[in-house]
């Protein structure tokens, strides 16, 4: 009995270790993250998205590959001539898969808010009333889940900036948020090394908002 228990615990320890530190997964992710930085056109974008989806389908315990696939899908909708609504919907579909693996994750929540912002931008006249509070609320939730998440603060700063411009109000709130975002990005950068897989995007957006604050 003792031997069985010992064997079992050993096996579990091994399995746990393997999943926490899977070199094949990590190198596959690194390869796609590298490829992500060189995307020039829609075809390349789709190819990297597919790469992340392959990792996600093979490694069903990780939310990150779905996250990156959804992120690229969202960026593609903004960057390229595509059916934006369809792209945002598909990004949301990928996000709900990530959400099932890691519920209440701040990064996932920010990206969901970003997708909502994209849908809002397609038709602000008729979607504004419904979607702008929803986007604000989603970014608020992302901040609540992780106050150190620079992307949550930055996206909220962007929303606040848009609202302030629309209603002709002062940029103080947006500027404050952007400054906090930039501080958080500095903290995050200190942690980044060659093995860092988590999202790092958003600094440029924070700088943009902060840039309009002089």
């Amino acid at each position: 009995m003792k031997i069985i228990l010992a064997t079992l615990s050993l096996v579990f320890a091994f399995v746990w270790n393997a999943s926490a530190n899977d070199p094949a997964y990590e190198s596959a992710m690194k390869k796609q993250i590298q490829a992500m930085k060189t995307i020039q056109n829609l075809e390349q974008s789709q190819s990297v998205i597919n790469g992340f989806v392959r990792i996600a389908e093979a490694k069903t315990t990780e939310w990150l590959p779905y996250y990156y696939a959804a992120y690229l899908q969202t960026i593609a909708a903004f960057r390229f001539e595509v059916n934006k609504d369809q792209y945002f919907d598909q990004a949301m579909e990928l996000m709900s898969k990530a959400d099932k693996i890691a519920p209440n994750n701040s990064e996932i929540t920010v990206l969901k808010g970003f997708i909502i912002m994209g849908k809002l931008a397609v038709d602000p006249m008729s979607r504004g009333q419904e979607l702008s509070p929803l986007a604000m609320q989603t970014f608020g939730k992302a901040i609540a889940l992780d106050k150190e998440n620079p992307r949550a603060t930055t996206m909220m700063a962007q929303m606040e900036q848009g609202m302030a411009q629309f209603f002709g109000q002062g940029p103080e709130k947006a500027c404050g948020l952007a400054r906090v975002g930039l501080e958080l990005f500095a903290k995050e950068e200190a942690k980044i090394n060659e093995n860092y897989l988590l999202p790092t995007w958003g600094k440029r957006e924070a700088e943009q908002v902060a840039g309009a604050c002089k």
């Binding site: 075809e43 597919n50 392959r54 093979a58 598909q90």
Partner: protein
């Protein structure tokens, strides 16, 4: 430990075989045999794979060996799996065709008769916000629909009239459940409104004919209102208006939400400032209390409750033709309640279930120059549906419904009462066949039973749509519709059977980013309509003997794109309708079916003013009436109806809206008919009085303020 050890050796051995790389290549085409780029081709359970290029080709290497599953996947397409044997050599996969999945974006939808307002769906005519911001609507749902094709504005009634049908022929549903007495009770010639606030709803589905087998007891039209899902945040909404005020409070979290609303209105102060043409003894007043709750249940179900109660009244003098004094004093007092609960859930197996019950109760206490009448109407509706998607090609919806209807009317002073009670049962089934992405066929059957009328009936319905170009769809719909006569007639003759109509509709819809063009032609037949002797105030020998028809066409054009910050729509409806009904012996054009109906709505957003300016203009060529001084029935027609309304919505802050609107800016003198004396005067003429508007114009001013104590907002301030 020995077996584990040997397992490890085996594992390493397999790993070592890995240097024998297999090279996979092949090509993927779409349903039209065109190369399909961007397809994800990979070995299941591994990271190995590639995307197809512009030519639809793929190529990748893998260290895996033996039998493996090769997956071809792309969003919007049906995935395919192929078993491959990897042997360390080049393996060419036979060319594969991926088929597109049918979904709302790429598949045709049936548009005959239907006009949908929703934020979620693509093929919509109006968005919920459009309803609130249509100037002539004054925040009334039905007011906004009166600018859509197939409807007529009857300015002294306010209800919805569709294609030569009277107002009772429009069935109104909330979350699929029937609403009894959906309009406020009013005195003759004072226009009414829908009782329900447009803010309750996330979407509406308005059909002017040929609608689904799901809807019954409506000869002309179905108006389905869908309530909002979970509220997003805690907030308070305060409204202060020229005619009253109200407050709504919402409590929400991720699982459930609750909104309680209370409103008061009274036109007395308004009428004190603005001169009225009606002789009011007591201006219309009322109050309402409403509760809406939503709760997410386990695994994606949603449970909703809506309850509303209201009371109100009015008192006015109605002058009589040929009589010099103030005329007859009419008093209306009304209490109304509506409550419903429903539950819906979609299962991953392809089933979705719905169940709900609604109860409407209306009580009117009327006084016509001393004659006291009390009317009580109660309607219970229970409904269950089960839908199943066999595949993306075939879906079915089945349902069962039960109605209980009680009605009584009494002369209170004389202690006389008459009443009836009826039980009705319905079964329906509807099948959607997607034959291709371009062609869909819907067929449905509805069976009904009424205990009081002692009648069973069947309504077959069918529609189809064919996509004739990238943006254009042609639809055809036909069906039979039954409706039991109005309560006021059934109480006189319990043996009254169903009235009947048959619809045939041909529709063309063109939709391209920001532009919608819609043209529809229709023919509608009527049979077994209610007829009687005498007049509508005192009908004698009520029977199902009337018949008639309505035919015509309507066109609609909406453009939200061409002019910057501007959205406009233009509607023209032509209706040629004749029927023998009520006291009319021959077939006549009814007094609610003007031939030519035109409306224009323009909304323009001015960013630097933070304002939306609105304009709406309605026109019809006049209503028919019978002039007893001339021979024949419905022998005369009023002048044209015209109404130009303007509105201004100003958003100084995200949580503050100031809205002002004015109807009939030009002060056009609209006449809706004439009231004639019961008997001729000494010269042998029937004296008459025009039925006009309560006032030339109506002015509205409102301030809407939202107070939000959002938890997230507080978090923000703490940063």
């Amino acid at each position: 430990m020995k077996p584990i050890f040997s397992f490890l050796i085996l594992f390493l051995w397999i790993q070592n075989l890995g240097f024998a790389q297999t090279n996979l290549l092949g090509k993927v085409l779409d349903g039209k045999n065109q190369p399909l780029p961007g397809v994800n081709v990979f070995l299941k359970g591994t990271f190995d794979g590639a995307s197809t290029d512009q030519g639809g080709s793929f190529q990748f290497e893998t260290a895996e060996t033996g039998a493996q599953i090769l997956v071809f996947s792309m969003m919007g397409f049906k995935s395919q799996e192929v078993i491959v044997e990897l042997s360390g050599k080049t393996l060419e996969i036979p060319t594969l065709i991926l088929k597109e999945e049918f979904n709302e974006l790429n598949t045709v939808t049936i548009s005959a008769g239907a006009m949908e307002a929703s934020d979620e769906k693509k093929s919509v005519i109006l968005r919920p916000l459009d309803i609130v911001t249509t100037p002539s609507a004054m925040g009334d749902i039905v007011g906004a629909f009166q600018t859509l094709p197939g409807t007529s504005t009857v300015g002294n009634d306010g209800r919805l009239f569709v294609r030569g049908g009277d107002a009772s022929e429009v069935g109104i549903f909330i979350d699929g459940l029937r609403v009894g007495n959906a309009y406020g009770t009013t005195a003759g010639n004072v226009p009414t409104r829908t009782r329900f606030n447009p803010n309750l709803f996330k979407g509406t589905f308005f059909s002017t004919g040929g609608y689904s087998a799901e809807f019954g007891q409506a000869l002309s039209s179905a108006l389905a209102l869908n309530t909002k899902d979970l509220a997003k945040r805690n907030q308070g909404d305060l409204s202060i208006m020229s005619v009253g005020g109200g407050y709504a409070h919402t409590l929400a979290n991720e699982k459930r939400s609750l909104t309680v609303t209370g409103n008061l209105f009274d036109l007395k102060p308004y009428q004190g400032i603005i001169k009225q043409d009606f002789d009011w003894e007591r201006a219309p007043y009322g109050s309402d209390l409403e509760l809406a709750a939503q709760q997410k249940t386990a695994k994606g179900g949603l449970w909703k409750v809506l309850a509303r109660t209201e009371s109100g009244g009015m008192k006015l003098w109605q002058a009589q033709p040929g009589v010099a004094d103030r005329g007859m004093l009419i008093q209306v007092k009304n209490t109304y309640s509506y409550s419903q609960t429903n539950w819906r859930k979609a299962y991953e197996s392809g089933w979705s279930l719905f169940g709900g019950v609604s109860y409407s109760s209306n009580k009117d206490r009327l006084n016509f120059g001393g004659t006291e009448i009390e009317r009580i109407s109660q309607l219970t509706h229970a409904k269950w549906t089960a839908s199943y998607d066999f595949s993306d090609h075939l879906a079915v919806k089945n349902g069962a419904e039960f109605f209980r209807n009680d009605y009584s009317e009494a002369l209170t002073k004389e202690n006389l009462e008459r009443n009836f009670g009826d039980n009705q049962g319905y079964l329906f089934t509807e099948w959607d066949w997607y034959i291709s992405q371009k062609f869909v066929l819907r067929s449905g059957l509805r069976a009904g039973f009424s205990a009081l009328a002692d009648q069973k009936w069947l309504d077959p319905r069918a529609s189809l749509a064919y996509k004739i170009s990238e943006n254009g769809t042609l639809s055809l719909a036909a069906g039979r519709f039954h409706q039991l006569p109005e309560e006021r007639f059934r109480v006189l003759n319990a043996n009254l059977k169903n009235t009947e109509s048959g619809h045939l509709i041909l529709n063309y819809l063109y939709q391209k980013e920001g532009k919608t063009f819609r043209a529809e032609a229709f023919h509608k037949s009527y049979d077994h309509l209610v007829r009687f002797e005498g007049n509508p105030q005192n009908p004698q020998s009520v029977r199902n003997e009337g018949e008639g028809f309505a035919r015509g066409f309507d066109v609609f054009f909406r453009d939200r794109e061409s002019l910057r910050n501007t959205d406009y729509w233009i509607t023209y409806s032509f209706v040629d309708s004749k029927r023998s009904y009520f006291q009319y012996t021959g077939q006549v054009q009814p007094d609610f079916a003007p031939k030519h109906n035109l409306s224009v709505v323009v909304k323009h957003f001015v960013p630097h003013l933070k304002s939306q300016l609105g304009l709406s203009w309605s026109f019809n060529d006049g209503l028919t009436y019978t002039d007893p001084n001339r021979p024949g029935e419905m022998n005369s027609k009023t002048g044209s109806f015209q109404n130009l309304s303007l509105s201004w919505s100003y958003l100084p802050r995200p949580n503050l809206i100031i809205h002002g609107a004015i109807t009939n800016v030009t002060g056009h003198r609209n006449i809706f008919g004439y009231q004639f004396a019961q008997a001729p005067n000494e010269q042998g003429r029937f004296e008459s009085m025009p039925l006009g508007q309560g006032a030339p114009r109506f002015l509205f001013l409102g301030i809407f303020f939202t107070i939000s104590k959002d938890k997230n907002a507080n978090n923000l301030n703490n940063l």
